[in-house]
Amino acid sequence: MSGHSYDAEKYWKANLRLIFGSLIVWALVSYGFGILLRPMLAGIPIGGTDLGFWFAQQGSILTFIALIFHYAWRMNKIDEQFGVSEE
């Protein structure tokens, strides 16, 4: 239960880990695939252009949506697991 500060600390660490992982993906699809790594992805054609262009104009947005729902879903589990969810 959340009565122990030890658990509270573990809960916060679990949250930070999840955020950290999510933000790596967040940065990878936008700053990575969409901008900096675009020249590397130039060889992968998609509908008249390259994969980097797709990530910059659509792929990153779709990934952001998936990231937020994944985070909300995982955090609900973690809230329950540590007994800190609201009634």
């Binding site: 901008i35 910059a56 909300a72 609201e86």
Partner: protein, 588 residues
Amino acid sequence: MSQFGINIMFVGGSFLIYILIAIWAKAGSTKDFYVAGGGVHPITNGMAIGADWMSAASFISMAGIIAASGYASSAYLMGWTGGYVLLAMLLAPYLRKFGKFTVPEFIGDRFYSKNARLVAVICLIVASLTYVIGQMAGAGVAFSRFLEVDSTTGLMIAAVVIFIYSVLGGMKGITYTQVAQYCVLIIAYTIPAVFISLQLTGNPIPALGLFSTHIDSGMPILDKLNQIISDVGFNEYTADVDSHLNMVLFTLTLMIGTAGLPHVIIRFFTVPKVADARWSAGWALVFIALLYLTAPAVASMARLNLMTTIYPDGTAAEPIEYDARPQWVKEWEVTGLIQFEDKNEDGRIQLYNDAPSFQAEADARGWEGNELDVNRDILVLANPEIANLPGWVIGLIAAGGLAAALSTAAGLLLAISSAISHDLIKGSINPGITDKGELLAARISMAVAIVVATYLGANPPGFAAQVVALAFGIAAASLFPTLMMGIFSKRINNTGAIAGMLCGLAFTLTYIFVYKGWFFIPGTANLADTPANWVLGISPLSIGAIGAIVNFAVAFAVSNATEEPPVEIQELVESVRYPRGAGQAQDH
């Protein structure tokens, strides 16, 4: 029925709905007025955030900007959506747990300082006011274009409508009108886009059409576009940018600026639970993405349509004769937003890039300068006419553009008025004010804010055009880092937070002013605003991200050199981190 009558019907009908909602959702307490009673469903809130967020700029201007610069404008698409990931994970759930009404209130409590709260109030007002002037001006223009009144009259009508539902209903009225406005704006944006995508690619989903084959040429649509515009001297649509660093920083500035804008953050205070704050960020992005995934398709297809209209027989042949121009060009010429000047007097419309690199070819073809000037804001508005859609679609676009402007304006005005009535009046001037008194103060602040915004919308000051630099720069460099440190660090104290905010702000504003003029007064810029002058190629629009780093670094250094925050503040930080509440947990 005439086009004018159809427009009146659509716009008038949508306004009637907004006003009926306002009467139904009257605010009875400050909790209703500031956070809509706190009981908004996450999907409803997601939709309201969508309308709150998508402004006249998103609806009218964004596709035009993308059409003009292609891949380089992806920064807007990623920047204005990626901020929601930061909101969902770094700010919204914890600020919802904190459970108060305004953004400066959190900063004031967490950093146990009225001065910190005051700095936050000033940042909020400058950022939001800059933003709202653009919305009011946009609403005025939309009125004058579609309803044939002059733009000041249009602005007054818009102000009266906002006045009715926001003064009466506060956040509660705004929430449910924003839901209606979202529906209007997304339908208006999508319908013409679907038809254009069908005409050009046969694919009814514009986002997929963007990567499909162009029916007329048999080539992928982006290939065709690249070919036709590079033939007349423009950069390829999908071409890479000159400075990756600048594009990264610009995208980052837009992302953290989005996450730090108070009118977006306060929408997360309206849901019942912490978990709902996370879900509503996801739903918000779904509703925003419906427009943001369509916009790049609209952009490329509208540009291609324009080029093939001017060069019906290909770029190797001569362009269209002026007398043979289509009806929609004639109609927009009347507004002055499309301008033609027959420089070489051959009776044809030469549209090409007037750049030194294309000079030789232009000379060889007897072209004496680009002859067609198309304002990029008209792309979305002219879409139904370009695609030959019926008159009711044009009426719908008019209602949609106004919905986008009004919904964002109302959200911004609420952020401003709650900062005045709650943070200044209750927080500093008269802490003993009753709930009823504060509600009245909130309504008066709202009314005053509307009058000021309307006046400035009609007489825009120099800074009004600098929304992206000023509003996003301030939100990115001052509000976002301070809020984030307030949640994720127990060590940052009052002195550190204030020093960080002020340094981030001073750094960002100075960099902007050097290139854009001090306080945006014309003629006071120290350096010309060109890439050659920018430090490391970083544009003034991209500097907010560096300002945020300055804020983090200064706050961290100053806090570590001074006393750590008192125990009760560290407990406050603990409590916002746990949905159920650390206080409860410590009772055992």
